[in-house]
Structures are given as C-alpha cells and as structure tokens.
Symmetry: C2
Amino acid sequence: MFMDIKNIMKNKNMRFTVARTELLEILIKESKPVCYEDVKHRINMDKATFYRNIAKFVDEDIVNSFESSDKKSYFEMKVDSHPHFICNYCHSIKCIDNLGSVVLEGYEVESIILKGKCTLCR
Amino acid sequence: MFMDIKNIMKNKNMRFTVARTELLEILIKESKPVCYEDVKHRINMDKATFYRNIAKFVDEDIVNSFESSDKKSYFEMKVDSHPHFICNYCHSIKCIDNLGSVVLEGYEVESIILKGKCTLCR
DNA sequence: ATCTATTGTGCGACTAAGTCGCAATTAAGT
DNA sequence: ACTTAATTGCGACTTAGTCGCACAATAGAT
Ligand SMILES: [Mn+2]
Ligand SMILES: [Mn+2]
Ligand SMILES: [Zn+2]
Ligand SMILES: [Zn+2]
C-alpha cells in the first residue's frame, strides 16, 4: 500500500510527499467519498495543500469529485467508479453498485449522481 | 401565464408578490436551469429575496435544485422532470430527454445528474 | 376604502468553502 | 552534499449563500 502510493506518484510524475501519502491513504482506506472537513478531522493538513493536491489527483485521473447538497465537494478514488446517491434532506451519500450502465450518445459520462430522499428520510 | 402564477401561489398558500411573479416567469420561460447570477442579469432582485423564495419553491415542490461543477446552485421548474448533464470542463448544463428511467430500490430518486465531458469539450 | 396583522423585501453584515501569493521547506537528480 | 524546482503552510482574499432587522407590501376583516 505504501509502495502502491509511491508507484502511483512515480507513474504520474508527481513528487512523493508526506502530505500526498497521508491524503491518498485516507482516500484509499475510506469506502465513502470524503470532503476536506473529513480529512481535517483525521489528519493535520492545510486547506490549500488539500485542495491543490486533490485538484492534481483529479487532473491526473486518480480521483473523482462531485458537489453534494451540503454545498461541499466530495472526493473518492477513481478505481471501480460507481454512481452515488445524495439525500437532499440529511445530505448523506451512498455508493451505488447495483445500477445498470448509463450511456449517453455524444457525451462522455464520468460519474452519475442520483439525488432524492434516502431510506431513513422517507 | 400571469394567472397561472397567481393560482400556483394560491394553491401553495403563498402571497402573490412582484418578486415571486418575476422569478417564476423567468423559471417558466427559461428552458435551462438558472442560477442567481442568471436571474440577476435579467431582473433586479436581491440575493436574499432570491434564495428565500427559491427555498420556498423547492420546499413546496414547485422547483428542483442541484449543484453544478462551477460550485453554484441551479434551479428549474419541477414540471416534466428530466436528467441533466453537467460538463466538468466548461461547466455547461444540458437537459436530457432520451434517458431510460432509473429506479433504485429503497430510495426516492428526485433528480439524476450525469457528469463528464460534453460534446464540445471532447 | 381603510385598518391591521402578518408576511415579504432589501440592505448590510456575516459565514464558510475554496483560491491565491508568497516565503520557507523538501524531494530528487547530479 | 548541492542545486533547483516542486511543495507546503500561512494569511489574506473571493464569492455563494445566510441572517437579522427595519421598512414595505399583501390579504383579510371591518
Ligand atoms: Mn463511492
Ligand atoms: Mn432541464
Ligand atoms: Zn436522508
Ligand atoms: Zn464542456
């Protein structure tokens, strides 16, 4: 795992730093998308450092991002890309595995977000 | 149309005001989701007035809302609800009509957002 | 038509997510 | 070890959206 991150960095021509290692470790371990607040709660990382590294990860296709109904951005590793359900009422985010593939002529669909009322809220 | 808005307000037990009429007229005429900036560009309406009225419309199920990749909220009349495609690169929003219905067991899906690369950006 | 209770509007101050410039630090190749 | 370019952390800044409050407008009663 430690070695994995070092290799990812090498492949993407990015320097192997403590901040990036800690951030990627959280993203890899976590099974849900995380926001800056989530990361800050676990490790000491500056806002700017977080957002700049995340932007680079997104740029390098390592990480996916989307905006939730709580007006914050959430981030997740891009491996095993899947849809997400966001509750408009409690703002919880659920990863969805059992949804047929959605194809849209002319567009390159990178992520799918379903919004509505979750199991607990209805 | 003018009468329609008055009736909507009556049915929802909301006062019939100039601000609400102007805002609903824009939402009804517009064929794309709009943000505050879009509305401000067309009429003189205070931010607080806009967001408070929009929140009420959303609450009363007249209007749908979602967050775009430009970190702004967009709003659209709830009639003829349909999915939207948001480009992660140019942040354009397209209304999608030709997509099969998505059903998710246990959840009440209110809106569907597809994100990715639009026709122009790829 | 006027009066009154209640709701809506506009303004300015505020909040909070995210960005930017800059000086200090660190990674990585020689 | 040395050098150079990339990265980090800090504080200032930007901007979408919220809040409190004084004033204005609505809708119903008289
Ligand atoms: Mn997920
Ligand atoms: Mn639409
Ligand atoms: Zn919920
Ligand atoms: Zn585009």
